[in-house]
Amino acid sequence: MTDGPLIVQSDKSLLLEVDHPRAAEARRAIAPFAELERAPEHMHTYRLTPLGLWNARAAGHDAEQVVHALVEHSRYPVPHALLVDIAETMDRYGRLTLSKHPTHGLVLETTDRAVLTEVLRSRKTAGLLGERIDEDTVAVHPSERGHLKQVLVKLGWPAEDLAGYVDGEKHPIALSPTDPAHDDRPWSLRPYQQQAVDGFWHGGSGVVVLPCGAGKTIVGAASMARSGTTTLILVTNTVSARQWRDELLRRTSLTDEEIGEYSGARKEIRPVTIATYQVLTTRRKGVYTHLELLDARDWGLVVYDEVHLLPAPIFRMTADLQARRRLGLTATLVREDGREDEVFSLIGPKRYDAPWKDIEAQGYIAPAECVEVRLTLPDSDRMAYAVAEPEDRYRLAAAAPGKNTVVDTLIRRHDGEQILVIGQYIDQLEELSEHIGAPLITGETTVRERQRLFDAFRSGEISRLVVSKVANFSIDLPEASVAIQVSGSFGSRQEEAQRLGRVMRPKADGRTAHFYAVVARDTVDQDFAAHRQRFLAEQGYAYRIVDAEDLSTDHPRSPVE
């Protein structure tokens, strides 16, 4: 057996030894069909899933290539049963195809009648399919295209989507060669951004996963330029909408009149329209009042910002734009309810993914140090915690008064830097805001006030800001270099990662960003913290754990290379 960098496990995971001389080659070989699951320092874990293998088939790879890639780079003999399994799984792809029939519209065809019968008989496909046209063909309701593909994946018989894309109404968009925000200096796409756009375009539809701060908006803009059609952009909130608008004005040839906002406040439908998920899914008397936005124009491209939010049932409505090219953008495709797969089925497979550390190594996101500060609760608090009801425990632990002192110490340590304090519970944040003398932004703050404070923070007018979880997503604070988290949504890994992302925009002087999580020892706070940190640890951002008592002797460090 060769001395390869890959170790194949019996649970279909692949271990890639990062320091091996042939690691890069192996990574390129397995990337088309294996999902990157974890990327800590020494061994990256990839996983073989049916969905991944089917996506490889869709991209034109066959089982032989997959087997060859595995055998070629594996250090030990690959279990034969696994190779047989891979071949069998990949063989299931392509038995069903979705295509355009001249008279019947969207149809599901099969090369294997038994498969079609099985699919038709399943309860899950009820209501998605129309009449049986002949032995091998059945009509599909066009609006259920995405849902059907998702169901077929679950049944184990994925459909090859040959129905093609509607081109959409043409509308020329070009990337502007100069950056008005930086004295009209020329700029270009970073290599990984270009790869992301290419990957997406070749795949037709799909998801691009890039760490926070890596410039996903630019990837969106570049894709729009590539498409050159009318575009609908879906974002999480109005602030994001405004930010997208600003970015598009800056990076593309679009003018103010060409970009419209469709949110709670405004209802403009223009060639490029930015809408919020919220407004699209509002119902009045059971009717989706704003759904006609989807049909308002012949959209050529639909961009979903923070697409990891999509699987929440309320958002699946927007996935019905199946005939159009769809681009999903996110930094964290991990959900506590495990429904990441739904995103792939609804939007498309992952077309680009890069380990965070890789992009950090290229210098495009700031190096970050993550520290957990463990606070020992005083006896009275511990007693109160011990006798409290289970549902109150997290709040008691997370909102412990001792945390204020810790925040103080940390702020003093990073005097002169832009600091964000993030938390979950409003009263805790109000207290903190008063304690350290910094303005507070919550869900109640008006949009205008939010914008004002952000601008002030951006310009350096204020150097500390206390924010609640409204600030989790999509706010753009280039110069925040320190984030202190006092409480969060229980064990949400995604939230942790997003919050880290607040400080990962590259700094002008290349300094290290710091992320502190203040945790109460021996409580559920500590347990949740461990879970939350797992995602980042798996991305290579291992936490350093410091006792609050030792904080004065500890000092901030740069991550060890």
Binding site: L15, E41, D522, Y541, A542
Partner: protein, 802 residues
């Protein structure tokens, strides 16, 4: 007339080596061992023995035997006096006139082998003609080689079918080669059949059945008894590289060792209860399967294997349970030797673990380790399966192919495909085969088995373990620790590393490498086992090429800090005082010396004696204690006696283990029979020593010496010998004088020709009275061969009452 040789003479003519060969090839003759040659003849011609012998023949041998039987029956002057076929005749009838030399060789070899087994014999030394031994024709059945019964008569001409109705040729063809008996059903064939019967081609047996007579059948077959010599089937599975085979087998072997170690540990900590009938309850099997992280079927197989190897055994306690024997000894054995021990026991084990869970005749589910899972044929079948695998190296064989080869090599005793499949599955699970072909260790095992007759068991053990060691991937001592609290071993962990990880982490992923995760629970487990925090960190650092990640160090320290802060212990009684000084005084007082007292808290002293005793001691120490109940209220004199009754009960697992160990030792020492060859040699010595006892002429009185008093004639051969004589006479149709106990209980003498000897009855044709009679074997006293018919003096006037 020339004195015909007999079968016994042929046997007597054989030399010692030939007799030993006979007894080795037909080992059923050794039990019980014959003492005289006459007895040997009887046994050899007994139906049961002949049937057994036939079961051991392979297809070509069976074909040759059938051929000889058929050709003898149709040769001119048949009825015992006819000439039988020569080797050439048989070759022609079996393989055709133009058979290639290889086939001729095969036929010659088969005939010689059949002679060795005393299924065929020659009339005299140097004789070319083959004859079937007595009993063979009956054992072959009514339709040997698919030919009909011999109805005598001349050899017919080939039937002329020109005038026959259409369909006659096909019908005849079907009857010729498939089955000689046909059943007339629909009217479609009736006309044809009637025509054929009318023209003497077929013979009507009854209203519905017709049969194709043997001679006609032979003629239709152009004198061939078989279509051709059935060669050994060559399995045509796909080729597979030895490296791939060994890799799969190595994985399976490692899995087996891991499961066995887990089983041993699980049952060492918590012995498994036993059913009253001696098996393992389903509940315990499930628990074991959970501990092994596998399914019930695999767990059952592992349990059986471990029991067979003596690793787990019945502890002989009441109620009985299964315990692990010598856990430390097992764990300290190197992997290859562990595997060797398990597999050697497996190869000799008559147990059928695949039947666990199925229902028996009474509807009860079969339990693992129960007595009813033993099947004596399993051992032999397993060897045969391994032999087939060994003969086809480098090819993936499936159950059907192996079964085809086995069916060829013993067509009269075809093993069920399901058993073959189950045994092949076992070889796969234990790493004896990989990808359907024998692994290196498997081949070593087969070689060891084959040498078993000459070499003492275990002497060649080195080869087996060396083979397994060569198959296993080299152990790795690197542990890559990462900031997300996982660790990866990029290969098979070395023993020390494996035990460390076992102790202190949870396995996340297995395969060619090992991924583990450190959690507070897993670190606590290590600390519970007695490691300190620093020791654990040092142990991990030893294997880690890079320094320990800070989160892991912190985790270990944090858990160590909290470890041991909550403690549980036993005390039988306590003294509670308000003042720590008083407690200290009581503790150190002389009166409490025998009480094993210790300080539980500053104001509490605990002791291991009953409360009443402690109270006395405290009184002696100068305080005046009062007894209290658990809820705090004080006890008066009457309640005191009830307090503190000791009830220590616990299974004495150690004692049970000792019992189990001795039991396991005796169980794993298999019944050690000497090899068959040795026994055969001993028997032959005895036979020679008892004197040549052929021809059976020990009656000196001559014929017709029956007496009315009922005393048997002096020197008659024993009844067993008599049967032998009768069988021979039946085969050759020669006359015999027998003595039987008559209806009145008195012996009678008769001159008879035996027709058939079977099933405890002898059919005879009485020469004097010219009638047929049937005599029960137990009434037979003696039998003596008569000289050929012309010399017989009639004993009739000498019979009757005197």
């Amino acid at each position: 007339m020339v004195q015909m040789g007999t079968f016994s003479e042929d046997l007597a003519r054989r030399d010692d080596a030939a007799l030993v060969a006979l007894l080795t090839l037909r080992p059923d003759l050794l039990r019980p061992a014959p003492t005289t040659l006459r007895a040997l003849v009887t046994h050899v011609t007994a139906h049961a023995s002949v049937a057994q012998a036939l079961m051991r023949l392979d297809r070509p041998q069976l074909q040759a035997l059938e051929s000889v039987s058929v050709l003898t029956s149709v040769s001119p002057g048949s009825g015992g006096n006819g000439t039988g076929p020569t080797t050439d005749d048989v070759t022609r009838a079996l393989a055709g006139g133009a058979a290639p030399p290889a086939e001729r060789e095969a036929v010659t070899g088969a005939l010689r082998d059949l002679h060795e087994r005393a299924l065929l014999w020659h009339e005299g030394p140097g004789d070319e003609v083959w004859r079937t031994a007595p009993g063979v024709d009956e054992a072959l059945g009514p339709y040997p080689a698919g030919l009909g019964p011999d109805l005598g008569g001349q050899t017919p001409e080939p039937p002329d079918l020109a005038a026959a109705p259409p369909g006659a040729a096909e019908l005849l063809a079907a009857l010729t080669w498939e089955q000689p008996v046909g059943r007339v059903t629909s009217g479609r064939h009736q006309e044809v059949v009637a025509w054929l019967v009318r023209h003497g081609v077929l013979v009507a047996v009854d209203a519905e059945h017709v049969v194709l007579p043997r001679r006609t059948g032979l003629v239709l077959r152009d004198g061939r008894t078989h279509r051709g010599l059935d060669g050994r089937p060559v399995p045509s599975g796909p080729e597979v590289a030895q490296a791939a085979v060994d890799a799969e087998a190595a994985t399976a072997a490692l899995d087996l060792l891991r499961h066995t170690a887990l089983l041993a540990r699980t049952w060492a900590a918590a012995p498994a209860a036993m059913l009253r009938s001696g098996g393992l309850p389903v509940r315990e099997l499930r628990r074991t399967a959970l501990a092994l992280e596998t399914d019930d079927a695999t767990a059952a197989a592992v349990v059986e294997l471990a029991a067979g190897a003596g690793l787990v055994a019945d502890d002989g306690d009441e109620p009985a349970s299964f315990v692990t024997v010598d856990l430390d000894d097992w764990l300290s054995t190197p992997p290859a030797e562990q595997w060797g021990r398990l597999v050697r026991a497996w190869v000799r084990s008559p147990r059928t673990p695949w039947a666990v869970g199925t229902r028996d005749e009474r509807g009860a589910a079969r339990a693992a380790l129960a007595a009813d899972l033993e099947r004596p044929w399993v051992v032999l079948l397993r060897r045969r399966v391994l032999a087939v695998l060994a003969q086809n190296p480098g090819r993936t064989l499936d159950a059907e192919q192996v079964h085809a080869v086995l069916a060829w090599s013993s067509p009269r005793a075809v093993p069920p495909v399901s058993a073959v499949a189950a045994l092949l599955a076992e070889t796969r699970s234990w790493g004896v085969t990989g990808r359907g072909a024998l692994s290196r260790a498997g081949r070593a095992l087969v070689a060891e088995l084959e040498a078993d007759g000459t070499a003492p068991r275990g002497a060649d053990g080195i080869t087996l373990t060396a083979a397994l060691d060569a198959m296993l991937p080299a152990p790795v001592e690197d542990l890559l620790l990462q900031g997300d609290l996982t660790g990866v071993v990029p290969g098979r962990p070395a023993a020390a590393l494996e035990s460390l990880l076992d102790l202190s982490s949870e396995v996340e992923s297995r395969g060619a490498g090992l991924t583990v995760r450190f959690t507070p629970a897993s670190v606590t487990r290590a600390l519970d086992a007695g490691m300190s925090g620093t020791a654990l960190r040092a142990a991990l650092a030893r294997f880690s090429p890079s320094p320990l990640p800070q989160p892991l160090e912190y985790l270990v320290d944090d858990v160590a800090r909290r470890h041991g802060t909550v403690r549980v212990g036993t005390a039988q009684s306590y003294v509670r005082v308000a003042d720590p000084a008083v407690a200290a005084a009581i503790l150190t007082h002389r009166a409490l010396e025998g009480a094993e007292a210790f300080l539980l808290a500053p104001t509490v002293v605990a002791a291991q004696v009953p409360a009443a005793v402690l109270a006395e001691a405290v009184r002696a120490a100068g305080s005046s204690p009062v007894l209290e109940a658990p809820d705090g209220h004080l006890l008066t004199g009457a309640d005191v006696t009830a307090v503190g009754r000791a009830r220590t009960r616990g299974a004495d697992i150690a004692a049970g283990r000792r019992r189990a160990a001795s039991r396991a030792r005796s169980a794993s020492e298999q019944r050690d029979d000497g090899s068959d060859a040795d026994r055969a040699r001993a028997v032959v010595q005895r036979l020679r020593a008892s004197g040549a006892d052929t021809g059976g002429d020990t009656t000196d009185d001559g014929p017709g010496t029956a007496t009315t008093t009922g005393t048997p004639s002096a020197g008659t051969p024993d009844p067993v010998g008599a049967l032998g004589v009768l069988r021979e006479a039946a085969a050759s149709g020669s006359p015999v004088r027998i003595e039987v106990i008559g209806a009145r209980g008195l012996p009678e003498s008769r001159d008879v020709v035996p027709v058939r000897v079977d099933g405890g009855r002898i059919r005879l044709r009485d020469l004097t009275r010219d009638s047929d009679l049937t005599v029960a074997v137990h009434r037979l006293l003696s039998a003596t061969r008569l000289p050929p018919a012309s010399e017989t003096s009639d004993a009739a006037p000498e019979q009757g009452a005197r």
